[in-house]
């Protein structure tokens, strides 16, 4: 059975790659994003890639405006005649020095990446549970696994998000809602453009592949690509005295 999927943030970066893979294999896709023109172009791209020219739809949803969530989810549900899977990849990013220097932007980023993303997930889980369950797949980050110097502020929002997603999975899996927390490492997207590339950097396609595998299997936590599970295992176990000295 093809999935009926809502992708929030499917116009760019990893979200674009995830939406493509779903469309290519015949899943029904509805995009949610900010810019109507950009959404229309992305929907046309996806539709061209579907096996049979299946209609790909889109509607506006802005993570900075939680009051838009209800209408966006209704629009998606109408377009797809009900959906069983929701994927949230949208988020903001800035480097630690930039955030430290601009607290107004920091406030926006923390609000969008944590508070508003959690609110959106609350709407989505309510919708999915009302249909008897489904899959909620949300992109957190390896940055949330441990407090680290280069990603203190960005990472703290992702840490909160990862904790929320874990709780959600514990509480609702029995009721049929699978919650999946994807933790990408460094992915070469517009978001990371211009940053020095660490080891194990991948293209969006490879990260998307890990996420889709997790959705198909219902894996609660997945690192993308998988090598980051090992990297973060080591980093999580490093003593504080060591973490204080190292640059990462």
């Amino acid at each position: 059975m093809p999935l009926k999927v809502v992708v929030v943030g499917g116009t760019r970066g990893i979200g674009r790659a995830v939406a493509r893979r779903l469309a290519e294999r015949g899943d029904r896709v509805h995009l949610l994003g900010r810019d109507p023109d950009d959404l229309a172009r992305c929907a046309a791209d996806l539709q061209a890639r579907t096996p049979g020219g299946t209609l790909v739809t889109a509607s506006v949803c802005d993570l900075e405006h939680p009051e838009s969530f209800d209408a966006a989810i209704s629009a998606a549900a109408t377009a797809l005649d009900g959906f069983d899977t929701a994927i949230v990849t949208a988020a903001m990013f800035a480097t630690q020095p930039k955030l430290e220097a601009d607290l107004a932007f920091t406030r926006r980023l923390l609000t969008v990446n944590f508070a508003n993303t959690v609110l959106l997930c609350e709407h989505l889980r309510t919708y999915l549970l009302s249909r008897g369950g489904g899959t909620l797949c949300v992109f957190s980050s390896v940055a949330g696994d441990r407090g680290r110097k280069p990603v203190i502020l960005y990472g703290s929002a992702k840490a909160g998000l990862s904790a929320y997603l874990e709780g959600l999975d514990h509480k609702f899996r029995g009721a049929g809602l699978k919650t999946i927390c994807v933790k990408p490492g460094f992915v070469r997207t517009g978001m990371t453009e211009g940053l020095p590339e660490p080891p194990f950097a991948v293209d969006p396609d490879q990260a998307a592949e890990s996420a889709i595998k997790a959705i198909d299997r219902g894996t609660p936590v997945v690192y993308a690509p998988p090598i980051w599970a090992l990297v973060m295992l080591v980093i999580r176990w490093l003593p504080r005295a060591v973490m204080r000295r190292v640059g990462f």
């Binding site: 674009r16 493509r20 992305c42 046309a44 020219g53």
Partner: protein, 437 residues
Amino acid sequence: MNGRKLAGWGRVPVVPGYQIRSEDLEAITVDVPLTRGLGRAYGDAALPAPGDARIAGSTLADRVVHFDPETGDLTAEAGLSLDDLYRSFLPKGWFTPVTPGTRFVTLGGMVAADVHGKNHHVDGCFGRHVTALRLRVADGRVITCSRDEHPDLFFATIGGMGLTGHILEVSFRLIRVPSPWIYQEVQRVPDIDVFMDALKTAAASWPMTMGWIDCLSKGSSMGRGVLYRGRWAEAHEAPKSFPALRAPIPVPFMLPNGVLNVHTARAFNFLLYHQPQARASVVHPRSFFYPLDIASDWHRGYGSRGFAQYQCVLPESGGHDAARRFLEVVTGFGGASFLCVIKDCGPEGEGLLSFPRKGISIALDLPMRDDTQALIDRMNEEVIAEGGRIYLAKDALTRPEHFRVMETRLDRFLAVRRAWDPDGQIRSAQSVRLFGW
């Protein structure tokens, strides 16, 4: 720009510079001198000119803008790669009319280099199949050009190495294939004379041909190698399954200089030459079109010194022996190149600087040595004597005076370029090296 560097696929030269990338290619091409795709040009074609540093990168702009499932007409953003295109469209029975020897190439790059493939003798270059281009030209305007609309700009852009403007969108027609598999025949060829005849015979009945020549063999076995002939397999010949799409094997770090040396190459060539020859087999399209793509970053195999690629076409007027004379120059430099690719080309394309012309094309990898420049000079003299030309997408070391002699169409190209870009705002390291601007 904190010491960042850019290089072509051969990693010669390495220049100061960096690329900015965005899904919105139109926005980032406003004030840069050049756009780069996946960086598969070997030399300095996709590198910033001295003093420029910042260029645009197209790879995030990779959406299909329009596709007609009846005709196969496709318009896509210039950063769309063949790898991505095939993943979406080959399962539906579509392929590009022309593919170069790597699938990690963008549509914009394919237009800029007017790439050719194993079917050149039948289907010509990619540019022949392009119907329209959307370009940001030097004065900032975004212009659509085609054979009817601004044809001067259109024909200068096909094969124009990105020097007429930033290619934003490409329109062309996909072809229907009977199955996603290739029917292939492999033939062992003992020397260059037999090779020339075998290519000619194969061209008459096969849509795709290409040969590998062992460049370490001299004397009576000079030019020995393997000829590949292929066509799309018919549905009844092909496996029912879709060919598996595995990710390439990474070459995660630079191999030490000299791992690929005369001895390892001789062993490799021996195995290649003596490979079991199934007279006919149905093979994965990737192994047929893109044997080197099996390893990503395979260029690291040549070590930190890098390598130069060289590709020339020797016109038919030179006769049967032109390839033999050229190989004598190459093999005379003792192990300078291990392996070369040989292919007969069809007629010249419409692009003002399009590389192929009727004749024989020879491509070689040249691991960098102290005599590489001398070898390239010597080969260029030979190419000039034969009335041939070189392929800019491969070049890093040709001297401008040599290029001017072999490229008789250059003035026409530069006139169009000057008309659209009087101040020379769009340029590359290669254009400054070879044309002076």
